[in-house]
């Protein structure tokens, strides 16, 4: 069974890169990927993450003051 992923969109690439760095430091299995076509975000990149880690990942981003624009499950 393949793992369920989600993506987090950010208002700018600075936040996306900071989220990637902090989450990586904390051992999250995340990856920066281009924003899927059915979603929209200007900065062009979003953070893919294992959906089951959604809550703790959002906690981390909030603690770091990283602004989030949207969270979507990946089909």
């Amino acid at each position: 069974m393949s793992e369920q992923y989600g993506v987090i969109l950010f208002p700018s690439v600075h936040f996306a890169l900071r989220a990637e760095k902090r989450a990586k430091d904390e051992g999250f299995k995340i990856k920066l990927i281009p924003v899927p076509r059915h979603l929209s975000s200007d900065c062009g990149v979003c953070l893919r993450f294992p959906w089951e880690q959604k809550e703790i990942l959002l906690c981390l981003l909030e603690r770091e003051g990283i602004r989030v624009e949207g969270i979507h499950p990946l089909e």
């Binding site: 208002p11 700018s12 690439v13 936040f15 920066l32 281009p34 200007d42 900065c43 062009g44 990149v45």
Partner: protein, 380 residues
């Protein structure tokens, strides 16, 4: 050739600065933060990493609060014009560069009150001179961290405390010190830090920045320019978040790629190591100059901290004559005149003739100091 004009622009740079810029042109080249493709992300990572390293250097918690600009002058203009309104009052010192004085004089014409705290003829500032000029409408204190004429350090930590006590904003012009003297946004009580990339951070010209401290509400700070940011493109209004609010248009990514390696070099060497080496050079220079009877030096004291910049004059020749003799006969490059700081020269008593300025740097050597002293002995 001997290069003693590091106070204007440092040269040479660590070789990795140039190599990073070439690598950017050869292998990256794209516009940062404007798309999700590989090269755009590579370019965005250069800006991001540079912000992160600068945040480490200046003790800034949130690197999005570091805004890239063209130079320290643009940073100072952004801080002053973004925050001061007619009816506000601002205090500065008499040792400032025109990068501070000219925008302040412009704001003064538009109704911003201005007080200038006098410094001693040695270029030193007594923090009490700042404190006693505080009024009910004072909003900000602006100080250079070190004079670009005499190399004298101003007491920023003490003035930072005064600013905090009176709930004032504190802007520091660190053009001469960022990278060559320790700066801690928190400990020094700095709200806004303007720095240049091309001096002691060893980046190329056209790089600089402004750190906007946590006490500043960026939504109430007015940008110098508005435009495309690669974010919130569906709206025709400027974004209200950092760093995008103050970074419109395509940045100098190739320059910042160089700056990144310059900052990394500073962090690897250690600011204190750099300062101590430069301090030993300037001390040798000053002690040598004091032994030449026909030379008068300004602002030097062996017993206090100083950056690697020093001003002096010959008692018989003008500063430009000394500089041209040094270049033509000895291949020593320095800077004569007023160094864009007329107020500082009035303070130390060298207006309008100016001084000869030696701006030493981390890549200068003892032998170069000895050679320059011999040259000055014979010029007189």
């Amino acid at each position: 050739m001997i290069y003693f004009d590091n106070a204007a622009t440092s040269w040479p740079k660590p070789p990795q600065v140039k190599e990073a810029m070439i690598r950017f042109m050869d292998e990256v080249g794209a516009n940062p933060g404007r798309s999700g493709h590989l090269l755009s992300i590579e370019a965005a990572k250069i800006l991001f990493e540079t912000r992160e390293l600068l945040a480490k250097l200046f003790n800034v918690k949130d690197s999005s609060r570091i805004i890239f600009t063209y130079n320290a002058t643009e940073s100072i203009n952004l801080a002053l014009k973004g925050l001061l309104q007619p009816g506000d009052h601002v205090i500065t010192s008499s040792m400032e560069h025109n990068s501070v004085m000219r925008p302040l004089r412009d704001l003064e014409k538009k109704g911003v009150g201005l007080s200038i705290a006098p410094c001693s003829s040695n270029g030193e500032l007594d923090p009490k001179e700042v404190e006693k000029r505080i009024q009910s409408n004072t909003k900000m204190i602006v100080l250079t961290h070190a004079s670009n004429v005499t190399g004298t350090l101003l007491p920023i930590a003490e003035v930072g405390k005064i600013a905090k006590q009176h709930h004032l904003l504190f802007l520091v012009d660190a053009a001469q010190t960022a990278g060559s003297y320790p700066i801690d946004m928190e400990k020094d009580g700095i709200d806004l830090l303007a720095f240049s990339g091309h001096k002691s951070l060893y980046g190329p010209q056209g790089t600089g920045g402004l750190v906007i401290g946590e006490r500043i509400d960026e939504k109430k700070m007015i940008p110098l320019k508005q435009g495309g940011t690669g974010s919130r493109s569906e709206f025709e209004e400027q974004p209200d978040f950092l760093p995008d609010r103050f970074e419109s248009g395509t940045p100098n990514t190739v320059g910042i790629a160089g700056l990144l390696e310059g900052v990394r070099f500073v962090l690897n060497e250690g600011v204190l190591t750099i300062h101590q080496y430069e301090r030993s050079l300037i001390e040798k220079l000053a002690e040598g100059l004091l032994e030449i009877p026909k030379i008068k030096i300004y602002g030097w004291s062996k017993h206090r901290e100083q950056i690697a910049t020093l001003s002096f004059n010959s008692l018989s020749l003008s500063s430009s004559e000394v500089a041209s003799h040094l270049e033509e006969r000895y291949g020593i490059l320095c800077r004569p005149g007023l160094h864009c700081a007329p107020s500082a020269h009035k303070t130390i008593g060298t207006f309008p003739e100016g001084t000869v300025r030696f701006g030493l740097g981390y890549f200068n050597k003892d032998e170069e100091i000895k050679f320059a002293l011999q040259a000055l002995q014979s010029i007189g």
